[in-house]
């Protein structure tokens, strides 16, 4: 007797339509929330609706909290935009953390040493450019090695994160206040020199403007520019690219220069627009979170807005459930993990068709 598998899995011949994809993802999200609820009840015997409400409250409960959520979304989004071209080229840039730190350190250095020597507008432009160049150099180092000697970029970029951390630690020795305390504190607290000013009465207005310009710019660059097309071809197959006459080495270095520069700008946005300080925790793991954002969004920068918002939303909510219910903040990591599991799992059902085996 021939045994038939209960379920048959086959690759979809035609891509699922957008309605179908949306439906699958929506079902995944609902399932994720149900499982999260079950976990909450099982672990802490609390009403999951209350916990969801607290998360919502923590992220959007007041105007201030909403703006914090927006501010952190913009930072995460900026980093994800930076990573998009690199990953689209299948260049595994695990080094966003380092590129952010170097960018942030450049901004901080300009603030500290030139804060009182330039008019505000010029100072901010110098900081912006310094951060972009800093991040660009940090991103180009592994790219040049990859292009020239085919080194492994995953390891190389990862290791450069630790180098960047040491560079920042070294800088802090000169900038810390008081000496030996390892804290730089708020830079230019009295003069606010080098702080992004308010825009439309909003403290974080400029952060939003800068990052949204990058969002649109990157979307156009990847979708409608020749260079964006080259990135896609190199990502699919280097040999094809070479056959088509694309200078692969040049594309690798150029793309990583852009990627690093945008991550450096993220460092500028953090230092000048949010924290006004520099420490080894300035990047805070966001360089890694952004990788998930970039992949989940399939490098579409507009989808990234939604995904970054979702992740920051959960993070902000975490603080609230921690204070309100005395749950550890890691509780929301568990919830986020469950949601990501289902969303990534949904991709399987988008690419494959599952059918009951015929009798």
């Amino acid at each position: 007797m021939k045994k038939e598998p209960f379920l048959q899995v086959s690759k979809r011949r035609n891509k699922a339509g957008w309605q179908e994809r949306l439906l699958i993802r929506f079902i995944a999200l609902i399932l994720a929330l149900i499982v999260c609820g079950a976990v909450i009840v099982a672990l802490v015997k609390m009403n999951p609706v209350d916990v969801y409400k607290a998360i919502w409250d923590g992220a959007m409960g007041s105007e201030r909290r909403l703006w914090q959520t927006i501010r952190d979304t913009m930072v995460l989004l900026c980093i994800s935009i930076g990573l998009a071209p690199a990953f689209k080229m299948k260049f595994w840039n695990i080094g966003a953390e380092g590129q952010i730190l170097i960018g942030g350190a450049c901004s901080a250095a300009v603030m500290i040493y030139a804060g009182d020597k330039m008019p505000t507008g010029l100072l901010l432009i110098v900081m912006f450019v310094a951060s972009a160049v800093g991040g660009m150099i940090w991103g180009m180092i592994p790219a040049v090695f990859k292009a020239r000697w085919n080194t492994n970029e995953t390891l190389f970029t990862l290791m450069l994160n630790y180098v960047a951390m040491q560079v920042v630690t070294y800088c802090i020795v000169f900038w810390e206040n008081p000496k030996g305390s390892n804290t730089v504190g708020i830079i230019n607290q009295a003069t606010k020199a080098g702080w992004l000013p308010e825009l439309f009465g909003q403290k974080y207005g400029w952060n939003v403007v800068i990052v949204l310009i990058l969002t649109v710019g990157m979307f156009i660059y990847l979708k409608y520019c020749k260079q964006g097309y080259e990135i896609a071809v190199v990502g699919e197959s280097e040999n094809t690219a070479r056959y088509a006459g694309i200078q692969v080495r040049k594309v690798i270095v150029r793309t990583m220069a852009i990627s690093g520069a945008i991550c450096g700008i993220a460092g500028f946005v953090i230092v000048s627009g949010a924290s006004h300080t520099i420490s080894t925790a300035t990047a805070g793991g966001r360089g890694f979170t952004a990788i998930i954002v970039a992949w989940l969004s399939k490098f579409n920068t507009f989808i990234m807005v939604a995904v970054s918002f979702g992740i920051v939303f959960m993070d902000q909510g975490a603080v609230q459930i921690a204070t309100q219910y005395g749950l550890n903040e890691n509780a929301s990591d568990v919830l986020l993990g469950i949601i990501l599991f289902f969303l990534i799992g949904a991709e399987f059902f988008i690419n494959y068709r599952v059918k009951r085996a015929k009798k």
């Binding site: 909290r65 008081p178 030996g180 607290q189 925790a281 805070g284 204070t323 903040e329």
Partner: protein, 395 residues
Amino acid sequence: MRKALAIGLAAVMAVSMSAPVFASDDSEGGAGIAKEDLKIGAIYIGDENEGYTAAHMAGIDEMVENLGLDDSQVIEKTLIGEDEGCYDAAADLADQGCQIIFANSFGHETYILEAAGEYPDVQFCHATGTQAASSGLSNMHNYFTNIYEARYVSGVVAGLKLNEMIADGTVKEDACKIGYVGAFPYAEVISGYTSFYLGAKSVCPSVTMEVKYTNSWASFDLEKECADALISDGCVLISQHADTTGAPTACEAAGVPCVGYNIDMTSVAPNTALTSASMDWGVYYTYAVQCMIDGTTIDTDWCKGFAEGADKITPLNDKVVAEGTEDKVKEVEDALSDGSLHVFDTSTFTVDGKELDTYEKDGQEYVSDGYFHESEYGSAPAFDVAIDGITSITE
């Protein structure tokens, strides 16, 4: 629209009605806040799993009990980093109606200052900080305890143990060296280990000390490694100014006596932990919140010690401490309380072979009447002089 109007009207009425009650001048110590209307915020660098923050949380609980408040009147935010997240937390607590907000980590200070400027009606209290007085903000306060007194007493306990080890021949008199696991090389830590050393030296004159830094406030692995390195460097007793149980864990494995910080270390080092220098933050929290109730002004710099019960050493581990320790500790504690003994008595140590007869910092002379006036002109420790007998290794 109508709803918004109603809310607006209600707000105007509420403000106009409450105005006469709260309009009295705060700086004159006007009307206090009724106990049941109090709302207290706390911002912590760590959570209950980290000794330093755990001590603060215990202090807050003690205050709630002392003053007969309800737990729901306290909002505690844990794991708040030293970045814009700290400002967010402070502003959020103020938005939620907290009238007094505490923050416990050194690096929080500039962010708390930022919030204090923005919310002039909310009192902000920052532990271990230095900038309240110079900020010119009347609602910004610093607090700390005279932890150097507790360190001195724990140093005495260590010195007596060293004497016992010399007497029974396990250590040579000229080779009794203490190892110290420090966090960062600045005044708070330097003042701490110097007072510990002076305590040990007061009973064991030949003692020397070696200090190594981890450059982290709380890292179990680094502190353990650091203690191991000190032990292999010939240190026969270990103490620490870092927040985990890393050092005592290393000591227990190596059989080296140790003195902890913040919490009782006997749970991880039952056969080697002598005692720990520790603080009772509840004394300050009770004081500060009582000020809110009474409507009196909170000290800009608050720093108290043994006399007020803000400092203590954890119970002596009878299995390890030398004979007669308890009596000696009592004697020293009493002398510190009544002011007859000063930790930084300049006749007990030298700097580059000479007695320290003057030390000026920020325009303030600290040495007079034969001792260094630690923590008298600001709540944060000030003593940052390298004295003879201590070698520190800054990498």
